[in-house]
Symmetry: C2
Subunit: 258 residues, 2 copies
């Protein structure tokens, strides 16, 4: 009955589907690590055939990329704090975690003013005053407008690393431990701020989320099309054997505002 | 309101999430073409680091595979009949097509008895007598039990090609033209029967589906956990630039039967 109602609502437009995914291209920026660490492979999309001698009736490509490429999902095993987590790789995740409510914290003005803007617990508490308590089991999405940037401005690398907005350590500790969120999503290349390696603990989003068996989403777009609360996110990574994450299509179901 | 009801139903188990995806491994069988055509790349999952010198705090892999690998989605541009279809590649598909109702045609007994079992229009009309008209815009899933087979028995190659069940040409013409389905899904490596190259037209599932801008799903599993009707499918391929298809996670929302 509820599923018939959902189908009808999708057909009439009472519920809309919003694509939060960036297009995967060979030049989409990926994370850059210091040279002492092994890098991710580049994105490659290589034609096998396109209605030609190599395949007269069909078109298809070979794909290659690192698990953490484009709009992608971080599973608990991606980080050392989640290495022993049960069902911590993408092939063993509970499917019921792949459909969950989402709230959106609008940090776009602050992020336009400061590349290193940090989302704080205080700002989250201000959000709760306006919208109510962040529900346990929800995705928290940090809207920064960063997805509108292209190329070098998107990665925003300087000599001391990336300068991109993200959460501070106390915000992440509080979201995971005091609010019991399902995961944290960003428009930037990481769930952590570009300078998050200098935080205490280093990379607090990775540290707290994955240490509690929770998830990350990165390189999201179209967050400005979501309400502050009330959307439902469909975020289902590829079922890669013992995978630490994967590119994925992230969709949001959104009640029609009109 | 409908989305809050959905979230509650997922939390209470009144709606369950069933994973219809096979695990992507290096030895999962992919389609084998005659040697005059270019083959798909093999699946490779190659470690970059795992809490070691190459990345002390993190675990990740590089991935490579053809677009039509494992549980995967066929977009219209995959076939010559769909080559000029608007929004025919995975990056341009309408997101509202990625969530849709599904019906399941149980052909498991017939497929156990005959590797080359063909689903006919007559069998579909028998299904309609029991369950009602196949809705326009629905996925039609052919349950064969094939996903329980492993390795060589799954591909089931002989000297004259694969011997696996699938739809006949009139079944596909009727489903696409007379029922207006969204797509057709199978447990086997193709949407077409293993011997479908000898049908008229050749590969009728590909021919009719993609020529009408419709979709295919292959290598599905767990179809025995779905009702004959009433499930809703989430099937959202990767947003690969001009991609002809992709591996994906396919989930079904199912009303609890108990
Ligand atoms: Mn990542
Ligand atoms: Mn295919």
């Amino acid at each position: 009955m509820i599923l018939e109602t959902l189908t009808s609502a999708l057909a009439t437009g009472a519920v809309r589907v919003v694509d939060l995914t960036q297009t995967l291209t060979e030049d989409f920026p990926t994370i850059v690590l210091p040279p002492e660490f092994a890098p991710s492979a580049p994105v490659r999309i290589e034609r096998i055939s396109r209605y030609d001698a190599a395949g007269p009736a069909w078109y298809w490509n070979n794909l290659s990329f690192g698990e953490h490429t484009g709009t992608h999902f971080d599973a608990p095993a991606h980080w050392f704090t989640g290495r022993d987590m049960p069902r911590g790789t993408v092939d063993t995740l509970p499917p019921e975690h792949m459909i969950a409510p989402a709230v959106v914290i609008d940090c776009s003005a602050e992020s336009a003013a400061d590349d290193d803007h940090l989302l704080t617990r205080a700002a989250l508490e201000v959000w709760e005053t306006a919208h109510g308590r962040i529900p346990a089991g929800a995705w928290v999405l940090m809207r920064t407008g960063w997805s509108l940037r292209k190329g070098a401005a998107y990665a925003n690398l300087r000599a001391d690393g990336a300068h991109t907005p993200g959460p501070d350590a106390e915000a992440m500790r509080w979201l995971v431990q005091d609010r019991g969120i399902l995961g944290f999503g960003t428009e930037t290349i990481g769930t952590d701020a570009g300078q998050g390696g200098d935080f205490q603990p280093p990379y607090p989003a990775h540290h707290y989320l994955h240490g509690a068996g929770r998830y990350g989403l990165q390189c999201l777009t179209n967050l400005h099309l979501l309400p502050a609360k009330g959307a439902v996110l469909f975020a289902a990574p590829l079922k890669v054997h013992e995978g630490s994450g994967s590119p994925l299509r992230v969709l949001a179901l959104v009640p029609d505002a009109s």
